[in-house]
Structures are given as C-alpha cells and as structure tokens.
C-alpha cells in the first residue's frame, strides 16, 4: 500500500492518530493507551499485515520519552513507523510482546536503558546490564558515570 492508502486505513482504525510525512516512511503518532489495540489490528488486518517488527527503540528528548516502532509487512512490503510519547517521570506503555515475539527482548533492553515500564510484559528484567543497575538508565541524556564513562 502507498502512504496515502495506509493513512486512510489507519485513520479508520484509530481516528486519534496523527501523521507525519516527509521522511522515508509514514510516521504515526499514537497515545500510549491506544497502542496495544492498534498493534493487534496492524498485525492481524489482512490488507495491512504488519508482521515484522524490525526495530523497537526509545529516544530521550529530555522533556519526554518517545517510543519508536518500525514495522514492515513480509507480504505487502510496506513499512510504517509508530511513535508514542511517554511521560519522562513515569514512562509506561503496554507491551506488544504478545503481538510480535521479538518485542520481548527489545522491550527488556529499552526497560533497562531508558526505564520504560512495559505493562504486562512476561519477563521484565535486566538483560544486558548486570545486577544492581535497576533505576539507573544509561541511555537517558542525564545519566552520568564519572568512573566508567569515557567522554571524547
């Protein structure tokens, strides 16, 4: 599907979604509460069929956090980017690990690096960082570690 068709289709599914164009792919902004139901529709709708979550990450904008999901369809070969703004002091969003299995690992990475709490995640623990790092989120912009961090 082309961006225009995708836009029309997604507006049909979620009227509150806003769009950004100009980049390589269509960007869709959604509220955290709307994300899980939309994710299930994106995955299961036969004309959309976004079955491949190829990138899941987070960006710290100092005032808020933004979750970024890159989705692709192996059947239709179209791509979209979903973005969701989170409160920086209490970042919470529903997990999509039931929809795309790969999200389980990626969400654990985002949890430890940014401190985003994924609700209903089956196994939300530290993955890369060693024990005792809970609460310190290295990829946030205000993270400081005077001993181990090399600044150039």
């Amino acid at each position: 599907m082309q961006n225009e068709e995708l836009k029309a289709k997604i507006t049909e599914l979620l009227s509150a979604a806003t769009f950004e164009e100009g980049g390589e792919w269509l960007n869709i902004n959604v509220e955290p509460a709307d994300w899980l139901p939309l994710a299930q529709q994106l995955r299961n709708d036969t004309s959309l069929y976004f079955d491949y979550l190829f990138c899941l990450t987070c960006i710290d904008w100092k005032t808020h956090l933004t979750m970024v999901y890159h989705l692709s369809s192996t059947k239709h070969r179209h791509n979209i980017v979903i973005k969701s703004k989170l409160d920086r002091n209490k970042p919470e969003i529903q997990t999509v690990s039931q929809v795309w299995k790969t999200a389980e690992f990626h969400e654990r990475e985002v949890y430890e690096m940014f401190g985003v709490n994924f609700l209903n995640h089956p196994d939300l623990r530290l993955l890369i960082l060693p024990d005792g790092w809970e609460g310190k989120n290295p990829l946030r912009k205000d993270f400081e570690d005077p001993i181990n961090m090399i600044k150039l």
């Binding site: 079955d51 890159h70 890369i128 960082l129 990829l139």
Partner: protein, 371 residues
C-alpha cells in the same frame, strides 16, 4: 547468577553454559533448565561485552562514529561501516561515485565469504570435526591478505567513510582477487565432501531446531536464519542499495526450517557472493573513489534509517539528528540480537547435545548482540 545453578522445585536441573564456553564463541551466558537430557528452557544472559556503543556514538562526530561500529559485528566490519556511511549519506544527500559503489559491493561480498568461512569452520569444530576449521581458515586467509593490502587492517577495516571509501584500491587488488577466486572455486567442493555429505553430520543437523516461517518473522529473525525457514528477507533484493539491483544473483531460500537448512543457506550464499564478485572484478569503473564532502559533517534535523544485509542478517542504523555534528540518538538494530531471541523457542524439547548445533547455525557473534 551462580546461585541459579542447582535443582528447581520441580526437580529439574539448572546448568550454566558460558560465559566462557568454546561453543558460545564469545562471552554469552546461557542458563539452561533440564529435565534429564531434555531442554525445558534456555535463558540468555547478555552484556559481558557490552560497551554501550550507542551512547558512545552520541558524543562522536559523523566521521568518527563509524570506527566504533567495526567493533560490533567484527566479522562483517565492512558491512557495518557501509550501513553507517549509507545512513550519513542519506542525511547529507550525497551521490557517491560509481567507482566507490563497486568497491563497496566487492568488499561487502568478500567479507560475506570470509564471515561464512569462519562460521563454517567454527561450527564444524563445535560438532567435533577439527579439520574443516583449517580448510576454512586457509581460504579466509586469502581474503584477509587482500583486505590488508587495500585497507591496512585484517579485521576491523574502517574503510568505508561518508562519501565513498577511504583510499583507492591497491594496484594488486584485481590480480589478488582473481587468484583467490580461482583457488576458492577449486576448493569449494571440499566443503561438501568433508562436511555436508557426511552422514554423521547430517544426522546431527536434520530435524534439529525447527523454526516455522511464522515464528521466524515474529521473532524478528533475518538473514540466513530466516531464509532457512523459507522467509524471503534479503535486503539486497528487497530494498536494494548501491548497485545490488543491477547485479545478477539469487536470493538463496530453503524450506526445511531446521539446522541443516540454515547450514545449506550459508554454503550456497558463498557461491552467490562469488558470482557477484566475478561480475564486478573486471568492471571497476575509473574515477573518484570518494565524493567531495565538507570537512565537518552536519546532518539536517530529522531521522534517517538504513537497512543493509550483513553476513548474519538485517542491520539497521537509525540516526536521529538535531542538526549538529553528532547524532542525538543512534540505534543499531543488530541481526544477532533478534536471532538469539529465538534460541529458547527452537531449543525447547531438544536434547542438550543438540544445543550446540542450533547455536552454530544461528551464527551468533556476541559483540554484535551486546553492542
């Protein structure tokens, strides 16, 4: 983490594989729950070689950060550099000269052969066959020598820069590559004679670690791991970059979904890489090897994403720019990270002895997973 070892309340045995274990090829720690010899659960613990490359890149300029990325997937370092260079070029909107494009593709494919060689030798060694390792390294050495002459390094090349490549090809490059191809084509059948056709090897690989196409996509698998399950996922074909759309090569697919299918993909992929190199080696256009770019690179405000096919699968580079000389945020979607997440799924219900065969065919490179 050691206190996890012992017996669970259900009477299952919990054991550690790694962090120091020859079959993990790096520092990967797996906590395995066993019922007798049958695997009930595999839980990877990562981070033993985590350097937080993403954070490091935030304080490096667009010319500097590429050097760090060679240290992610060190067996595909050219392709990592390539992905980053492409992403920066996308932001700068620079057209790179045809000569640089051809050199890049040649280097990528040589790297792919070298990486698959090492995988083949190391995997056979994991399964108890020592000889293939030497056969694989004999050929890989030829590629390393070619790289050394042109790039000055044998493993972490840092040869691709925004705008093209760092320096021109060594005068011996074409001659050396042709010699290598000649030797390689004479030797490649030895791989099948030594390993592929071996009945003991086949019995250890066939039907082991089955991954269905739906699960391969859902777990975000890419590269040979996904193609072994029949999922078309070659970025070179689906979203062509550089000159891949003008080249003749096949996307290798197998439908078995087991370890043997993933093994065959890589063996056949090496031959496709040879095909690509043969098409290009006599047709390297004359001209500049680097486009003219400013000394200090500044990407416009925005987001840039590139996808390339490394030897292990899809590498994504996601740069968020605020208009400065350094990226605001950079994310590397590494193929190994997603491919590892499927290990627990495919290992459940198999015997402990088969785990090594499964890990071997996922072709895990730990620095690529930890980043």
């Amino acid at each position: 983490m050691l206190e996890e070892v012992g017996t669970t309340t259900e009477g299952d045995l919990v054991i550690n594989v790694g962090p120091q274990h020859p079959a993990t090829h790096g520092v990967l720690h797996l906590v395995i729950t066993l019922n007798g010899e049958t695997i009930k659960k595999v839980e990877p613990h990562l981070g033993f070689i985590h350097r937080s490359i993403e954070k490091m890149c935030e304080s490096l300029t667009y010319r500097q950060f590429i050097y760090v990325t060679s240290r992610m997937d060190y067996l595909s370092s050219h392709i990592n550099n390539h992905a980053c260079a492409l992403c920066v070029e996308k932001g700068l909107q620079v057209e790179i000269p045809p000569r640089a494009q051809v050199i890049r593709v040649l280097m990528d494919e040589l790297t792919r052969i070298a990486s698959h060689e090492l995988w083949w030798g190391a995997m056979a060694m994991d399964l108890g066959a020592f000889t293939p390792f030497f056969h694989a390294f004999r050929e890989r050495e030829g590629i390393n020598d070619i790289m050394e002459e042109t790039c000055g390094a044998r493993l972490t090349m840092n040869y691709m820069v925004p705008g093209g490549v760092m320096q021109d090809l060594h005068p011996n490059f074409q001659k050396k590559v042709k010699e290598f191809l000649q030797l390689y084509k004479r030797k490649i059948h030895e791989y099948d004679e030594l390993v592929t056709g071996n009945i003991i090897f086949q019995n250890r690989m066939k039907g082991i670690g089955y991954l269905s196409p739906e699960d391969a996509v859902s777990y975000g698998c890419s590269g040979p791991t996904a193609r072994g399950s029949g999922v078309s996922s070659d970025i070179r074909k689906l979203y062509p970059y550089e000159i891949y759309d003008k080249l003749e090569f096949d996307e290798v697919l197998e439908n078995g979904g087991d370890s043997f299918a993933r093994y065959m993909i890589r063996i056949r992929e090496m031959q496709q890489s040879v095909r690509i190199i043969e098409q290009l080696i006599d047709n390297i256009p004359e001209g500049d090897f680097q486009a003219k770019t400013k000394a200090v690179l500044k990407l416009p405000k925005g987001e840039f994403y590139t996808r390339v096919e490394t030897a292990r699968g899809e590498l994504g580079v996601y740069i968020v720019s605020e208009g400065g000389t350094t990226p605001y945020r950079i994310k590397f979607r590494s193929p190994g990270f997603s491919n590892l997440s499927v290990l627990d799924h495919i290992a459940r219900g198999s015997k402990l002895g088969d785990l090594v065969a499964m890990m071997g065919t996922l072709d895990l490179v730990i620095p690529d997973i930890d980043r």
